[in-house]
Amino acid sequence: MSGGAAVLGEFAAALLDPEHPLPAGLVTRNGTDPATRFAVYRNNVVVSLVAALADTFPFTRELVGRQFFDAMARCFIVAQPPRSPVLTEYGDDFPDFVALFGPARALAYLPDVARLEVARVRAYHAAEAEVLGTAALAALLADQDRLPGVWLTLQPSFAVVASDHAIVSLWAAHHGEGRLDGVDPARPESALVLRDGDDVLVLPVSVGTGAFVAKLKAGSPLGEATSAAAAREPEFDLTHALALLIRHGGIAACPLPGDLDS
């Protein structure tokens, strides 16, 4: 490797660590300390990545306030810098970081709110699959005996966020439906997240329906998904859950190769 490689290595090391000495071999036209100029790069890196996280987590940011969020985001950026230039994927690990972030520990619901926001961004950018037609669907579901072994392919944008906290009510209050201080955050809620046209919807679902959809998304056949749902919610209603999916075009005609990437 050339000398340039060493300089750029030192440059990179100093970007995210303000304590790290500046790389040797930087020059300025007037011979001044390059620190002020190097600070432009340090600032660009951190500020642009904080902005990217703020785009993904607007509600998390609202809940904790801009100053707190930006400080928490900076800690995340230093601890886990992006590994890909595709920043729509950068927030995926942020909720787990929030869960372990000491100063935010009092807000027990915050990591799941952040998970809901990750699910929304993923839904927004998910692949689209052709919706399974009603005739094909009817044929698939006609034989009661074979039903447990039937695989349904979910529309790639569909996802469930199950929480011990009232994430759907909090989300709704954020959008002007009800008041934030009227929500009991300790009530467990599950969200079905899906893309409808240009919008991403966050729908409240029962814990059983949430488990059912999550199982289907994970590739389980209908019987296994139904058992999992019934185990969580004895009164789980399969017909109701399927109707919800069908109403939102959630059952796809066939798996897409792109699903595996998204």
Partner: protein, 283 residues
């Protein structure tokens, strides 16, 4: 492009509905490739609708051709699929690095202009052009520091990259101005050093102004303000020298209403029109 006075702006999601609904007096839009490396959804659908009505420029900010690490082949594959899908008129990247093979810094970082840097950049441009099956336009950066190791000027460096790889250039007139002020040079030295025929696109943008350690002007390439008068003057002189080139107004911060950007683009169009008349007279 049919018209010599070809102008565009960066596509912003806040403007998409208005553009698709009532059009815009523009010839092309430019998007950052990395924002569209997604599996599906509205971004791609809207871009397809835009592409049906306007020419497209795709501008990469993540390839790191100036870096010491090997190019990310998976990223090249994703770019290739995007370029295949949208068939843009231009694809450009920066004379900069933005990662070290493991981490991505989301900024356009400076390259030492020495023999080793030149051979690295040329290898990366060759690899990208071969992988993507098309010509790359390489953009001159805004820089805030220089390297003691540099032995070539930025203009000499870029000219040599063009000579060795056959790539084109994206001349960012704002970057030329910003870097010239920051390093006490004449911006014209860069423009004059570039092989004119290689310049395939021009960028214009606004900068912010700060002070360095000695209290002297330090310009920051923020894309957050209208194009400065000094940059318009440099643009006019550049077109008189090069002839008209497709020109983009970039704005990535403090995004104003669409009409404001269209007005700025129309100002570029009038400079382009003057330049094309002048080229005809001179020819």
């Amino acid at each position: 492009m049919t018209s010599p006075a070809t102008v565009g702006i960066g596509l912003k999601s806040a403007h998409v509905r208005q553009i698709l609904g009532s059009g815009a007096a523009l010839d092309f839009f430019e998007v950052h490739a990395e924002n569209y490396l997604v599996a599906g959804g509205p971004y791609l659908r809207h871009l397809e609708q835009i592409r049906e009505r306007f020419a497209l420029s795709i501008h990469g900010v993540g390839l790191s051709i100036g870096g010491t690490a090997p190019l990310d082949v998976r990223h090249l594959d994703r770019l290739k699929a995007l370029l295949h899908r949208f068939e843009p008129a231009w694809f450009s990247e920066h004379l900069a690095w933005c990662g070290d093979g493991a981490l991505f810094y989301n900024d356009l970082l400076p390259v030492p202009y020495d023999a080793a840097g030149l051979s690295r950049v040329c290898d990366h441009v060759d690899q990208a052009q071969e992988h993507l099956g098309r010509r790359l336009l390489v953009e001159n950066p805004s820089t805030y520091v220089e390297f003691a190791d540099s032995t070539l000027t930025e203009g000499e460096f870029l000219a040599e990259v063009v000579r060795r790889t056959g790539c084109g250039l994206l001349l960012d007139v704002n970057n030329a101005y910003v870097s010239a002020v920051n390093h006490g040079r004449d911006a014209w030295d860069l423009v004059a050093a570039l092989p004119a025929a290689a310049v395939g696109e021009i960028h214009l943008a606004g900068f912010a102004e700060d002070r360095d350690g000695a209290g002297e002007r330090l310009l920051i390439d923020t894309h957050g303000l209208p194009v400065a008068d000094a940059v318009w003057a440099l643009y006019r002189r550049t077109l008189a020298h090069l002839g008209p080139r497709p020109t983009l107004i970039e704005r990535d911060q403090a995004i104003p209403p669409l009409d404001v950007l269209v007005d700025e683009a129309s100002r570029a169009r009038s400079v382009l029109t003057d330049a094309s008349l002048w080229s005809e007279v001179a020819a």
